[in-house]
């Protein structure tokens, strides 16, 4: 009985008392969680774009983040000015998208999802290997000139870098939304995402659309790579954030862009709060699995994720 009370104390009473005791600290935790969540959302966004348009669960998204960041760093090391380097990295990601479509996807049309998934794991190996082969595998700093100073706001400690990351991410999402909603290509993309065959039959070139979608995913990967890279350096571990984005993906739903964003924020905040208030009770490092268990718990109630399309099954 006594141990039970102790467990209840450690698990429930103490963390909540901590939260109430210092609301400023709690606010800081939540804000830093939101900012990490933005980063997760960026990676998850790349997954959603590709899954929606081509039904491919692209495991290589993390490797694309690494690849894009390495390409950018490679240009910067040559002394290329930042805007040109970013443009160069975009061109490389577009070329990569074209190569992936031409060499891989077009030959795998109509295959089962799991085969495509395994093929993107193969792609993951190729990208990790070739990226590190071309630009070296040691940790590199990445500095594109974003300000990085801390300041206080109503007693809450904030960081300009995190804030600008959030602003950039928000504007990227806004741009994507405009692109999807108001351009011809965007309309075609939505048509393909809705129904491949119907899109084909009204004359939308599927292959071109795939190249465009992979390019857009590559650009999203580049933005994510810049953000993560300037925060923690560009190295192999960058490609592991794909594993961080997967729970975001199932929480938000594979097919929903707003889902990816909200899922990222929920996971970011949940993870931070769990780590800080409940982490000590578990002996630390619960970040590794907390997001997955949280997503799993959500899935039990909504099997298609928060915003995924309702799964309709017919016999």
């Amino acid at each position: 009985m006594e141990t039970l009370i102790m467990i209840a104390e450690v698990m429930f009473t103490a963390p909540i008392a901590d939260m109430i005791d210092s609301p400023v600290f709690l606010a800081e935790v939540i804000i830093s969680g939101l900012l990490t969540g933005v980063m997760y959302s960026l990676v998850a966004l790349g997954f959603v774009l590709i899954f929606k348009a081509s039904g491919v669960f692209n495991f290589a998204q993390g490797a694309m983040v690494l690849f894009a960041a390495l390409a950018l760093v490679g240009f910067l090391e040559q002394g290329v000015p930042v805007p040109v380097a970013i443009l160069g990295a975009v061109v490389i990601m577009a070329a990569l998208a074209y190569a992936i479509e031409y060499l891989m996807l077009r030959h795998l049309v109509n295959q089962e999802g799991i085969i495509l998934f395994m093929a993107t794991i193969g792609l993951n190996f190729i990208l990790e290997g070739s990226g590190q082969l071309a630009w070296g595998s040691n940790v590199k700093g990445l500095d594109i000139g974003l300000p990085d100073t801390s300041f206080e706001w109503y007693g809450i400690l904030l960081n300009t870098f995190d804030l600008s990351a959030a602003v950039i991410a928000a504007s990227l999402v806004a741009m994507l939304a405009v692109f999807f909603q108001y351009t011809n290509v965007g309309r075609a993309l939505r048509a393909v995402a809705d129904d491949h065959q119907a899109a084909l039959s009204v004359g939308i070139p599927l292959k071109t659309i795939w190249v465009i979608v992979w390019t857009v995913a590559g650009i999203v990967a580049l933005v994510a790579g810049v953000m993560w890279g300037s925060k923690s350096g560009v190295s192999f571990s960058l490609s592991l954030i794909a594993l961080k984005a997967l729970p975001v993906l199932i929480l938000g739903g594979f097919t929903s862009i707003p889902g990816a964003i909200i899922g990222g924020l929920v996971i970011g905040v949940g993870e931070k709060i769990a780590e800080i208030y409940w982490g000590p009770a578990f002996g630390g490092a619960i970040e590794d699995w907390f997001a997955y268990v949280l997503a799993l718990a959500f899935l039990m109630f909504r099997p298609q994720g928060l915003f995924g399309e309702k799964i309709i099954e017919r016999v």
Binding site: F117, L246, P247, Y292
Partner: protein, 358 residues
């Protein structure tokens, strides 16, 4: 003309339902068994045992386990590494707590532990399907490994956090620990694989396998014709995890000797997944061929360039290997998405007529 069933008449029903109804298949299996049990031990060297044969057999067992779940019952799981870890840690705890229990009973019991854990993490499969389930099984992967890493009880509070296989003997022969010979180890895993493959083969052609396949092909339709999805899916998770658990226990006790949780990380899950995709989903034979392919490929990639006189610096060669490995996987999936098992059946089909087309 080499592989045809013409002229092989069956006079009894049980002959018709035999596991290998065609004479040529029986010959083939007999040849493989003779090769594995007699010829290989005569010629194999220490390097071959440790680097190729023993890991190949262990991974084959794990691949059969995953293939039962993914290939036959249609439930995609990326938690294989964790289920293998459960088997490994359970056998370690069991044999250090009860040193007198026969080591084989320990292996089987630890498989049962893995089966129980697999069923717990398989329970969401009733609600969650497809890729959602695949990602959800990653929860098992990360949570279980974290647990084994954090809780000292699992590795008997050893300061390095590793588990080491203690020496155990069986009929006066050392079977685990540093003194066991490679040959003994090889025979142990070979026996496990033979029995495991035989049981799996019989499972999938019997009632259990048929219910699995019905669930895989369309679970709602299967439910309507009276198959209980709860029982069927949980049974698939349980049996699959049992195989994986035994394979994990063998991995520590027979192959590696000692290991940390890192040996069972997500890369192991992907590796086993590759084996069944390359080998062929829904094929016992394919699991074994896929395991051979995935084990041999990196060894080949490491040894091939020096063989033709090409010297690549070691830091580069790791990346080159990665690229070639990834390329081959993609290439293989494009050429034959149904795996080696399909190639094998195409070859058999060809052999019916070859070399006389009429």
């Amino acid at each position: 003309m080499f592989y045809r069933e013409a002229g092989q008449f069956k006079t009894r029903y049980d002959k018709d339902q035999a596991i290998f109804p065609i004479l040529q298949d029986r010959w083939f299996i007999a040849l493989v068994l003779i090769l594995a049990y007699v010829i290989v031990p005569l010629v194999a060297t220490e390097y071959w045992y440790q680097a190729v044969l023993i890991p190949f057999l262990i991974f084959s067992l794990a691949a059969i386990g995953l293939n039962l779940l993914t290939g036959y019952a249609g439930q995609v799981s990326l938690g294989t590494g964790a289920f293998m870890a459960v088997g490994a840690y359970a056998s370690y705890k069991l044999t250090t707590a009860f040193p007198d229990i026969n080591i084989f009973i320990v292996f089987i019991t630890s498989g049962l532990f893995a089966a129980a854990v697999g069923m717990v993490f398989g329970a969401p499969s009733l609600r969650i399907k497809g890729f959602y389930l695949a990602v959800a099984t990653l929860a098992a992967q990360f949570f279980i490994l974290w647990l084994f890493n954090k809780v000292g009880w699992f590795f008997n509070y050893s300061p390095s956090g590793t588990i080491t296989a203690p020496p155990r003997e069986f009929f006066g022969r050392m079977v685990t620990g540093p003194e066991a010979t490679s040959e003994t180890r090889y025979f142990i895993v070979l026996v496990f694989l033979t029995l495991g493959a035989l049981i799996a083969k019989n499972l999938v052609r019997g009632r259990v396998g048929r219910t699995w396949m019905a669930i895989r092909d369309m679970d709602i339709a299967a439910e309507i014709i009276g198959i209980n999805p709860l029982k069927t899916k949980l049974l698939a998770f349980g049996i699959s995890s049992f195989y994986c658990g035994v394979a994990g226990a063998l991995m520590i006790f027979i192959w590696l000797g000692s290991a940390e949780t890192e040996a069972f990380d997500i890369n192991l899950s992907f590796q086993i997944m590759f084996m069944i995709i390359i080998g062929g989903l829904g094929s016992i034979m394919g699991s074994i061929m896929g395991a051979a392919f995935i084990i041999l490929l990196p060894i080949f990639l490491t040894n091939f360039p020096p063989m033709i006189g090409l010297q690549i610096p070691t830091d580069l060669s790791k990346h080159v290997e990665e690229i070639v490995f990834g390329t081959l996987i993609v290439f293989f999936l494009i050429v034959e998405p149904h795996g080696l098992a399909r190639l094998w059946s195409i070859a058999k089909e060809k052999l019916r007529k070859w070399p006389f087309p009429y």
